[in-house]
């Protein structure tokens, strides 16, 4: 490893996230060969709202993935000493946003401001004044008369840039569509679209779905262009109590939200599926035991169970400081433990659903036939029951996601959420709400956190609805 500019760090949550993505890709490849599944995904792909939501989700996932490539930077070389790496763990997103991350102010400043939010006694004056920001509007120099004009110029330049990129993309798509044979997937339609099946995309090409995706991309590019252009000289969403850029914090929160929303379901699914099928298929005392287990667990109110478990987890982590090499690792372990605890409370519902469905499947002819042929119990469960339950698993996976993202914020407020050093929507809201009593109010951290969360959860809800409509046999009208 000597001489490498960075030392890659694989946190546990990163590893699990990559495993999850590998599983999803593998399932997609498998689903492409199944006619029924392909048809269902094609229905999702033809739905304009769902594909617009998928595009937004795709952008969020991209940011989250960039934020999951962790490394430790090389420290400046000491002559004669072996290469040493910084203790601080950064991610690829941190590197991209180095500008935002490093340009910290002293404390609060409003969005696009040039001065701090609160008065301070300056060195060479007896009056308390608003000190200048170190970075916000620094390029303006002493003359602040051009502040408003500068914002307008930067904003329009950013919007124009975003529009230009979008037009380029549209041109490429048009060109590609006229050149490519009709059964090849379209390029540039967003990673999700290609992933959900190029064939499906072609059905909707030129229809409402691809138009919805292009329009969503237009909005995203415009916002992105404006943020980049304004962010070059200002703090677009202001700064927080310790002077960190709120835009940077919001972008970093995305990974935490995504992790909680996906890993929780991932860790609880194997247990829920296994116990649900066992209870439904085997019956007898196994059924009684499993039912007793999930009735007991689900009779404890969720928040209280989570609170109790998190309190105990804190004790474990606090009494074993030697388990973790860096603070990033400790925060990561806490995040994972939170996912486990959330999973512990939410597997009961899925297990109950799966048990009920298995009871129905068990009596169907194809299962009876398999039994008559002497196929083993576990082979029947794996080959005949499990594939017919996959739609329930998928629906519960996408439906749970948005609820979990929202729950994270609430739990962090209650004090049983992620580690206080982990940047998340919950910790952002939690630190910002202390300042609500201030006059005038510090509103920008809250608004930024809520807006990002709203975009993520709304996109997830819309996408989940489309998936449920496409996969739930009851809802197929």
């Amino acid at each position: 490893m000597n001489g490498l500019p960075v030392q890659p760090v694989l946190l546990w949550s990163d590893a699990l996230l990559f495993v999850l993505i590998a599983v999803i890709v593998a399932l997609m490849l498998w689903a492409r060969r199944q006619d029924a599944l392909r048809a269902a995904w094609a229905r999702v792909a033809r739905d304009g709202v769902a594909m617009a939501a998928a595009t937004v989700l795709g952008v969020f996932i991209l940011i989250g993935l960039l934020d999951s490539l962790h490394y430790r930077a090389l420290l400046p070389a000491q002559p004669g000493a072996p290469a040493r790496y910084a203790v601080e763990v950064n991610s690829a997103l941190d590197a991209l946003l180095a500008d935002l991350r490093l340009r910290t102010e002293k404390t609060y400043s409003a969005p696009l401001a040039t001065h701090l939010f609160s008065r301070e006694a300056l060195e060479n004056s007896t009056q308390r004044e608003f000190p200048r920001l170190k970075h916000g509007g620094a390029h303006l120099g002493e003359n602040l008369s051009g502040h408003g004009l500068d914002i307008v110029v930067r904003l329009s330049r950013g919007l124009a840039g975003g529009l230009a990129i979008w037009l380029l993309l549209v041109a490429v798509v048009r060109l590609g569509k006229s050149r490519l044979p009709p059964n090849l997937p379209l390029e540039g339609g967003g990673a999700m679209m290609v992933a959900t099946g190029g064939r499906a995309m072609n059905v909707g090409a030129g229809g409402t779905a691809s138009r919805a995706v292009l329009l969503t991309l237009l909005v995203i590019f415009l916002l992105f262009g404006a943020a980049v252009s304004l962010g070059g000289g200002y703090h677009v969403f202001g700064t927080d109590k310790v002077g960190q850029d709120v835009l940077y914090l919001s972008l970093k929160s995305i990974r935490t939200g995504l992790l909680i929303g996906t890993l929780t379901t991932l860790v609880m699914l194997p247990v829920a599926v296994l116990l649900g099928i066992l209870a439904g298929y085997v019956g007898g005392w196994v059924d009684d035991l499993i039912q007793y287990l999930y009735t007991t667990l689900s009779s404890i109110p969720g928040v209280l169970l989570i609170a109790a478990a998190v309190l105990m987890m804190q004790v474990v982590i606090d009494t074993h400081p030697d388990w973790f090499a860096t603070s990033a690792e400790r925060a990561d372990a806490r995040l994972l433990a939170l996912c486990l605890i959330l999973g512990m409370t939410s597997w009961t519902g899925v297990a109950r659903l799966l048990r009920g469905e298995t009871l129905k499947l068990r009596e169907l002819e194809f299962v009876q036939a398999a039994q008559a042929f002497g196929v083993g119990r576990f082979a029947i469960m794996r080959r005949h029951i499990l594939p017919n339950l996959m739609h329930i698993v998928l629906i519960s996976l996408v439906m749970d996601f948005s609820g979990l993202v929202l729950a994270e914020a609430v739990l962090s407020y209650v004090g049983v959420g992620v580690d206080p050093t982990t940047i998340s929507f919950g910790t952002m809201i939690n630190t910002a709400r202390m300042e609500l009593a201030r006059e005038p109010m510090v509103w920008w951290s809250l608004l930024a956190a809520f807006s990002f969360m709203f975009a993520l959860v709304l996109a997830a809800n819309l996408f989940a609805d489309a998936v449920r409509d496409a996969f739930d046999p009851r809802s197929s009208a």
Binding site: Y292, T295, T296, L297, S299, I300, P301, V303, L304, L305, A307, A308, A309, L311, M312, Q314, V315, V316, D318, T319, S402, L406, A409, V410, Y413, V414, G415, V416, F425, I429, R433, L436, M441, L446, F450, M453, F454, V457, L458, N461, L462, D465
Partner: protein, 325 residues
């Protein structure tokens, strides 16, 4: 009926025992009392004497489940498991870290919790069902679509936003009601209006959508077609037939919540400074008062199990075909 109730109550016992064992394992086996003492005392003040004192104050200085040193029956009773877990069945929750009796505290705090939770629940149910019926009346029109979009948007907003935004707008900008606080008697009304309204608005999106799905399922049934064929106006079809038949799925989700209303709402109570059980729990979590959290977990489960029983009983009231054996 009575036999059924008794049998259901007997079924509840093993579940409560399970909850009890689970909380015992979570609080005393995952971490030893020594660990908890070290955590709460802080790194600096940890000495063996301080830990022993902390444990003795809370009665954690006994063996976990088997006291070999005691005589006779005390071998079982003079233990943490008996004194802390088994005694919860008798309504004895011990003392909180501030020395107060937890059972008495819970009794005093139930009323404020209920004063918020009950109106929120009743009003929320009424508003959501009315809204859902309205959407069903205008189903497959632009109004229905707009309503559903509104519901999805509203359920995508964090509950914290409704509370913070509502407090800011109503109390800080318009100065209509005090921002937080509580008082007994009729004075309480002015403190309760805002949390109740916010609670109703915050829950409207998800519940309206849920009721709408239930109604939609009912409306495609044969009896609805018959009712329409008889020439009944849509209003009568909806209120007299669809609403009644949809009661069973609605009751399944609703009745179970009623007993847990006593627990109050964690968020609302702590934001509005209501001295109910929700804020009690939050304070206990923040102060790491393990005894209080453990008691609340137990009480919450008891109330939930009561809710399940009430759900079953409510079926017989709503649907004469259901007979409980």
């Amino acid at each position: 009926m009575l036999a059924y109730i008794i049998r259901r109550l007997l079924y509840a016992i093993p579940i409560l025992v399970g909850v009890n064992l689970f909380t015992f394992a979570l609080f005393f086996v995952v971490n030893t009392p020594d660990d908890m003492a070290r955590m709460q005392l802080g790194v600096k003040r940890v000495t063996p004497e301080a830990i022993e004192k902390w444990k003795a104050e809370r009665g954690y200085d006994k063996p976990l489940v088997w006291n070999g040193a005691a005589a006779g029956g005390a071998k079982l009773t003079d233990t943490i498991f008996f004194s802390k877990s088994v005694r919860m069945f008798a309504g004895d929750f011990g003392r909180a870290d501030d020395g107060r009796d937890i059972a008495r505290e819970i009794g005093a705090r139930m009323l404020p919790s209920l004063a918020i939770a009950l109106p929120t629940f009743v009003l929320g149910l009424f508003v959501a069902i009315s809204f859902a019926l309205l959407l069903i009346f205008f189903r497959a029109t632009a109004l229905d679509f707009a309503g559903v979009v509104l519901c999805v948007a509203m359920m995508s907003i964090s509950g914290l936003f409704y509370i913070i935004g509502g407090q800011w707008l109503v109390s800080k900008v318009w100065h209509l009601v005090p921002i937080s606080g509580y008082s007994g008697g009729l004075d309480a009304a002015k403190f309760l209006v805002l949390p109740v309204v916010i609670g109703v608005i915050g829950g409207i999106g998800a519940s309206t959508r849920w009721y709408r799905t239930i109604f939609l399922e009912e409306i495609s049934r044969d009896y609805v077609r018959t009712a329409r064929a008889k020439g009944l106006p849509e209003r009568v079809v909806l209120f007299r037939h669809v609403l009644r038949n949809a009661l069973i799925p609605i009751l399944t989700g609703v009745v179970v919540v009623i007993p847990t209303l006593f627990m109050g709402s964690l968020l609302t109570e702590s934001f509005f400074g209501i001295p109910g059980l929700g804020s009690y729990t939050i304070d206990a979590i923040n102060a790491q008062d393990f005894a209080v959290v453990r008691s609340m977990v137990f009480i919450g489960s008891v109330l939930y199990i009561v809710g399940l029983l009430l759900t079953d009983l409510s079926y017989t009231l709503a649907d004469p075909r259901v007979r409980l054996q």
